[in-house]
Symmetry: C2
Subunit: 258 residues, 2 copies
DNA sequence: CGTGTGATTGAAATGCTTCAATTATCGTGG
DNA sequence: CCACGATAATTGAAGCATTTCAATCACACG
């Protein structure tokens, strides 16, 4: 009935009856506005959009609690989506990259804050006009649903990472994800340009900036990355990072598996 | 510019310019199929639905990777939504309670597994027929979008909890959430009936079952809960649990904040 | 050439995981 | 209804991981 693991850990079977790759993220990364909408739809979307340019990182697009009037789509650059807990600590919930859509209102207000992490260009669309457009474009409407469902899946992936991986593994997962984006990863030189400080990265990975720095040091010690500068990382091969992610959360004595 | 905290932690301002309660979960808990759909819509939804009864916990509704043909809605009981990492470890992503909707397909397949955690009754609706229904009911369509957006927000809340809180705090957050549901919380007796084992709870909170047991012991030591039996918890007042959640992640020496 | 911020490293303390062993609970059959 | 067995839950102990505070280093910018 249950597919046995190499050894059965503890007293409980921890494998599903059927296994399949949950989903292929590299393929899914194409679920962007350009690919989601037909050419005609894109034109109608742009017709009601304004283009905004933010010269530098750290600019506020909107803040949690604010009245929500607009939806945004990233043209270029990176936007941090974050929320503050009651104790005042920030959590970076997601990073919006070119093609991503953000700013869905909840009860007329924004739930999260959006801050630029670099120089950024955005489409800005009035929510009301988009609503009207959706009424006449059921296909576009369905695409919106698919888009939100994609974000939900991404959030679930973050839950898995935060729930199961140690900091080095989380950092490795992050680097692998970012290396999928040609905007940041020079595939020829194997170099990844990070648009985040160690503080931001800490808030994204659920950890302290010092711990993130140590995780970088550890990955470098393992030989899977090299720090050209704090924000420019050389990745000889993504395979090394994948092996880090695949390992155990804790060193252990090696009995549990294999 | 920035609203100062009691003391400014570290060298970086960690508070937003505008603060507001992110959202009111107790209010949001009403975003269920009964409240989301009008009376007529409900009737049309039920017209294409089959009722399924699972006698006991541990039954598989569907498994990740399976071809997806149906959408489900919980009538009564609890369903665990989980996914397995490549290393074979399970993460419980969400718990579906009465009124919740689950089983959205991704590329024709289920991404997660759904297993009953108790005796459960479900509506089962063929995805194809629901699609047809949605085409003729744009309002229902919009409600679906709202429903998925709600799930996304819930997932983001989980990200915050996993990213910022220690195990006792996560457990306290979980107990507070569950105490909102009259199906499990006897408000008169202040008793909460848990539909999960320590294993399930560990996989939900991103921790080991032993650690969860210790967290229960700690909350009891703090006087905010009392274990009648392992699965039946007395909560004298939710306020105590809220204070646990509001505290620091780590003991510290009290210098950082006030 | 200072100055401030970001990044790194050190050291101590706390929290969590893991393995092991014991105890409690629940379902089932006698 | 009770006893039994299996599973769940708890507790102990050791070791590893992360946080925290502190100090130093690196770097960009004026």
């Amino acid at each position: 009935m249950a597919r046995p693991l190499l050894t059965r850990p503890r007293s409980r079977i921890r494998a599903p009856e059927i296994r399949a790759r949950a989903f292929d993220r590299e393929k899914d990364a194409s679920a962007q506005i350009e690919n989601l909408l037909s050419r005609g739809q894109q034109a109608r979307f742009r017709a009601i959009a304004t283009i905004l340019d933010y010269q530098r990182g750290g600019s506020t697009v909107f803040t949690e609690g604010e009245d929500a009037h607009f939806i945004y789509s990233v043209i270029s650059g990176v936007v941090r989506i974050s929320r503050y807990s009651d104790s005042g600590r920030r959590q970076v919930l997601a990073l919006m990259l070119p093609g991503d859509l953000f700013g869905f209102p909840e009860g007329g207000r924004y739930v999260n804050s959006a801050i630029t992490a670099s120089s950024v260009s955005l489409y800005r669309v009035p929510w009301q006009r988009l609503r009207e457009l959706l009424l006449h474009e059921p296909e576009m409407h369905l695409n919106m649903l698919i888009r939100v469902a994609f974000d939900l899946r991404e959030a679930q992936r973050r839950i898995m990472i935060l729930g199961q991986q140690n900091i080095s593994q989380r950092l490795a997962s992050f680097l692998i994800d970012f290396a999928q984006h040609p905007d940041f990863y020079d595939e020829r030189k194997h170099r990844l340009a990070l648009p985040l400080t160690r503080f931001d990265l800490g808030d994204y990975l659920g950890s302290a900036p010092e711990t993130v720095a140590r995780a970088f040091a550890k990955l470098e010690r393992l030989g899977v990355i090299r720090r050209i500068s704090p924000r420019l990382i050389e990745i000889p091969s993504l395979e090394g990072l994948r092996q880090v992610v695949g390992g155990r959360r804790r060193a252990g004595n090696g009995r549990g598996r294999l």
